[in-house]
Subunit: 268 residues, 2 copies
């Protein structure tokens, strides 16, 4: 039993799709969430910048004496995982391994699709991990640079013409190509799930944020870190908190309960 | 005669549309350009964050002993102009006044449209300046939050279906409404000019970056700050410089000539 909080961070609010699942699976855990809304998106930036931002995010979470850190960001998990993991002695869980493992389990024909930010796809991280589990897997990857700005600006529901057109731009090449399982490798993308399913109705969709929350449970358990005495989530962002409750509610699919505060993240 | 450089900054590369015009009008001036590519976009962030970023950008430019500063960013010019101007003793020129003045001169029926980022439009800055020049002007404004990510990701040419659909989303309400002059109030938007003109072929388009460069000439002249001994432009960005030359060339409409360097902007 360890009552310290779990730290979760993302470039913005996408990581709340992981928090939602974590709250469901581990209702007794305290969670500290940091969303770098003052510097989102990460996925179009260079490795060096992403590493610097990720290290600041982690140093901020460490001020809460967190017992484990979940990188609920496909870009950081793909580009900077080893760099940041090397600095920590507590468990750190990124989205790539859980999502890759879930995809390998789900695929029947061994042909997996991966969607992610430009930085995540450019890193080849999902391919490496999938091949380390299943060397014969076939993989088709696609960077979807407009998906994060679309989600952030509220263009993600079924029927939104711009979201649908962008999704066709990125996904039409997957139609009939044989991919039977598709990783949404960025924690913003589950909000576009309806639009994606309309284009690729028969594929298994793997939600990286949700899979990561599931993967955290046995890791915490094996390390004797579970708790059932808490249940509070504190939210921190680097831009203003004004619109946070409305936006976060969309990602969490329930009203925001708990403390919301602004952080000067570049000081960490 | 003052051979010190002119400082120009933007959230990203959009401000290069002003640099292009400045190089054309004042070929003997040295220019230092800073593009905050590590933190772009500004236009979806809060006033406090925008002010903080703008002050850092200005403190960086001041390390070059610049003789004047051009805020080639519609968001900063709209949201933080007074705040940053109060800290400076050198001339500072934002895009709002020049663009508003050009629009008032260009309109025949006194009905002006304004396109900008969410922060710029939310500030009401263009309306205030237009009404201070022409109290009877009618104004119709529209935030276009997807235009910056579209431009940054290369979706801006005529024939690009996503750019065209987003432009229709924002501009269809201007068709037949009587607006005869339209301010592109963000320095990224001139790259979408073709797409915009296809939807609104008869309006006068006012390019805020270009108008600002034009407005700088008499201000420099009146302050005895012109020079014809230089002509070099140095470029600084806060993300990696890898892709800078290709992208900057699109905005400048000529190959990048000169020094390109990365800056740790949060240290300023």
């Amino acid at each position: 039993m360890d009552t310290r909080p779990i730290g979760v961070f993302d470039s913005g609010l996408g990581g709340l799709t992981a928090v939602k699942e974590l709250q469901r699976l581990l209702p007794g855990e305290d969670i500290v969430y940091f969303g770098d809304t003052g510097r989102v998106p990460y996925g179009t930036r260079n490795r060096e910048t992403i590493e610097k931002f990720a290290m600041q995010d982690i140093r901020f979470l460490q001020t809460f004496d967190v017992k484990a850190i979940i990188i609920a960001c496909g870009t950081v998990s793909s580009v900077a995982f080893n760099k940041v993991a090397a600095t920590l002695t507590i468990p750190i869980i990124g989205v790539v391994e859980p999502a890759a493992g879930a995809a390998v389990n789900a695929t029947e024909n061994g042909f997996i699709g991966v969607l992610g930010t430009s930085a995540a796809i450019g890193s080849g991280a999902y391919e490496k991990v999938i091949h380390s589990i299943s060397p014969k897997a076939r993989i088709k990857s696609r960077a979807c640079p407009l998906f994060v700005p679309l989600v952030e600006n509220g263009y993600f529901l079924r029927g939104n013409k711009i979201a649908e057109l962008a999704a066709h731009e990125y996904l039409d090449e997957f139609k009939g190509c044989g991919v039977d399982t598709l990783i949404l490798g960025c924690t913003h993308y589950p909000l576009l799930r309806g639009v994606i399913e309309d284009i690729l109705p028969t594929v298994n969709i793997i939600d990286a944020g949700s899979e990561t929350a599931k993967a955290a449970v046995p890791i915490l358990e094996q390390n004797g870190l579970l708790s059932d005495c808490g249940g509070n989530t504190r939210f921190f962002v680097s831009d203003c908190t004004d619109d946070f409750e409305r936006l976060a509610g969309i990602f969490l699919e329930h009203p925001v309960m708990g403390h919301v505060e602004k952080v000067e993240i570049e000081k960490y």
